[in-house]
Symmetry: C2
Subunit: 386 residues, 2 copies
């Protein structure tokens, strides 16, 4: 039996990678902080009802369940931190105005979802509660773009959509939950023939709208096309107006903006503009976000909400490899002068490894490029010559 | 149904506390780093066999189990990261000499154990593999003491013991596993009468040794007493010699050193010197550590090992409350000059919150003490007058 084998899609992160993840984790949280987003630490475990309320079936399936030995109730290990932030906003902070929250933590998923190669993403995100206008959507989108630029990602592309278009068509055509789910799935896989057959019994205008939706992706010009081919419902008009405003306001950032009106990622809890970020070297989206005004209702307090999150593990994996910082090897001993020389170097941020008895032979493994040596009564740092 | 209620011993950490935990997390990891300890990120989930191998029954009971939907095998959510570090040392790094590893992560426990008031400790620790001498024990102990001093803890007291004493008595008296477990429990609760009745059928010298063990706690002088009342077995002599060396070498640090020879915390995987740190304001131990040379065997590679860990959540809770940093409130708008003034302030580490439309009334909640205002064509930071 090989006890050290890990489950599939579960991995250790070793020093070089781990150091880089930690560095970016700090830089991102600092970026969130100077934008006014306050760091919170939601728990890994909650009762199932609070973890998945208002979020739909997908999250339920993705969540590992355990029994609470203190109460016998079913708990889940969080698979997404966004609903936790909504719960904290609704009940712990109880702000009347705007709350800005951020978080960084491990989430677990029963299966690797889609393109993610891990069941243990390191989710970092920022969420803005209490403001319903396009300005808060833009604030979140700009923060996401700055975050991805901080990671050094190239050729950023943000794809936008608006859940309101699909919802409006469902609502006006009085489509039931089963057909809604089937249509949703067919649209997500851009399966035009499946969409066509699913809508065949509906009103002709609605039929054509759903079929057209599959093709409405591209640059800002498809918004004009959408306005001409989709029904003139108020919600659709508003959604297209909002998307046009987004396109106009992100022009100063070095990103490509696109639209894909059938894309409804996270539809089950999103309610307005949704978006996904792509970058060179990544097969799938690197960050996801959008508006989810409805989630707070489940916690007894409806609050407008928008936010984004990314998996820092996945994001870092595609970057070029990191170099570990080199260390200084100090001799063994408790001599006060030696100890204070070591303390001084460490206080200045240098890595100093003090030798242990009978361990000289494995010096290579310690990743040292300098030694601390006594020269003319002074402790000096000297390069190791090869 | 109140969806926002959390399970017992599970809590959110809100901004002020979370910010302080994050700050100490960084400072401690930086301290570990300059001492040559490399940061690793072990997974939250492993197969049960690898999580608890060599660690004993306690850890098994403390571990939440879930079924791997990809294989049907039983996995556990980690309840302790020390065995994970040992696995990484044994199999991932494969060093011949010394490895120094550190980690920081959430662990979950089925029940709050003993004095801990949480089922979700934030475990930070440092582990040293590949060296069996007292020098590596001392290195780890000094690092633990520096860590606790960094947290600002007062009146530090470290209690030492040595698993070798108990093991030696068990071994020489050929005590079976059932009696061993019963004796272990009785000693942990310092229950002298229970110990007395359990050992009544044993050799008189062994009887007296076990009974004496309950009382052998105090300052360095009890080591002399122990040498006179315990049997003259080699392992006991070595254990007492090691403990005396420890006491001698920690005198330069501002800590009180004590000994409690019946204390065997973590006995199931420890194998030599063990220790627990206490501080003013904390009911239970704030950090634990010790030698566990046997754990690597379970992963196919026996390696000497010593380390310590602490629960940063618990450690921070007893400190005096933190103050959140105050923010600057900037007006809404996309004016290039305004945006670049905001960017400049944020780049210098200032928190700047840009106003959102129709949200002026809740200014108190934003924790701002300054505003960004246009004065004579320049954007200036101005204190908010009450």
């Amino acid at each position: 039996m090989r006890n050290w084998l890990l489950p599939e899609f579960i991995e250790d992160v070793l020093p070089a990678e781990a150091g880089r993840i930690e560095s970016f984790r700090r830089q991102l949280l600092d970026l969130f902080q100077v934008h006014g987003y306050q760091y919170v630490i939601p728990p890994m475990l909650e009762y199932m009802e609070s973890l998945i309320t208002g979020t739909g079936y997908d999250l339920d399936l993705a969540t590992f369940k355990v029994v609470d030995q203190l109460t016998g109730r079913l708990m889940g290990v969080r698979a997404d931190m966004t609903p936790q932030a909504a719960r904290i906003d609704a009940h712990m902070l109880n702000h009347q105005g705007v709350s800005r929250l951020c978080y960084a933590g491990t989430v677990l998923r029963t299966k690797p979802d889609g393109l993610a190669r891990t069941r243990e993403p390191l989710q970092l995100g920022a969420e803005l509660f209490g403001h319903a206008g396009i300005e808060s959507d833009l604030e979140i989108q700009r923060l996401m773009i700055k975050s991805l630029q901080l990671l050094g990602l190239k050729e950023l592309h943000i794809d936008f959509s608006h859940v309101g278009i699909f919802e409006s068509l469902i609502h006006h055509a009085k489509i039931d939950a089963n057909l809604e789910q089937a249509l949703f799935s067919a649209l997500q896989s851009k399966d035009k023939s499946a969409v066509t057959s699913l809508v065949s019994s509906l009103d002709l205008q609605i039929q054509q709208a759903f079929i057209k939706l599959v093709e409405l992706n591209g640059d800002v010009n498809i918004l004009t096309e959408a306005a001409s081919v989709l029904p003139p419902f108020d919600e659709i008009h508003q959604a297209l107006t909002d998307l046009r405003a987004i396109a106009k306001h992100l022009t100063d950032l070095d990103v490509q903006v696109g639209f894909d009106l059938s894309e409804l990622r996270g539809y089950h809890y999103h309610s307005g503009i949704v978006f996904a970020a792509y970058a060179h070297g990544y097969a799938g989206p690197i960050a996801l976000g959008g508006r989810y005004d409805e989630v707070g209702i489940a916690f007894g307090r409806a609050r407008p909400a928008t936010g984004f999150s990314l998996d820092l593990r996945g994001a870092v994996l595609a970057l070029s490899p990191a170099q570990s910082a080199k260390a200084i090897l100090a001799p063994e001993g408790n001599d006060m002068q030696l100890i204070s020389a070591i303390d001084l170097l460490r206080a200045s941020g240098q890595i100093v490894i003090q030798a242990l008895p009978n361990m000289r032979s494995q010096i290579d493994e310690l990743n040292c490029d300098r030694t601390l040596e006594l020269q003319h009564g002074e402790w000096c740092v000297t390069p190791i010559s090869n």
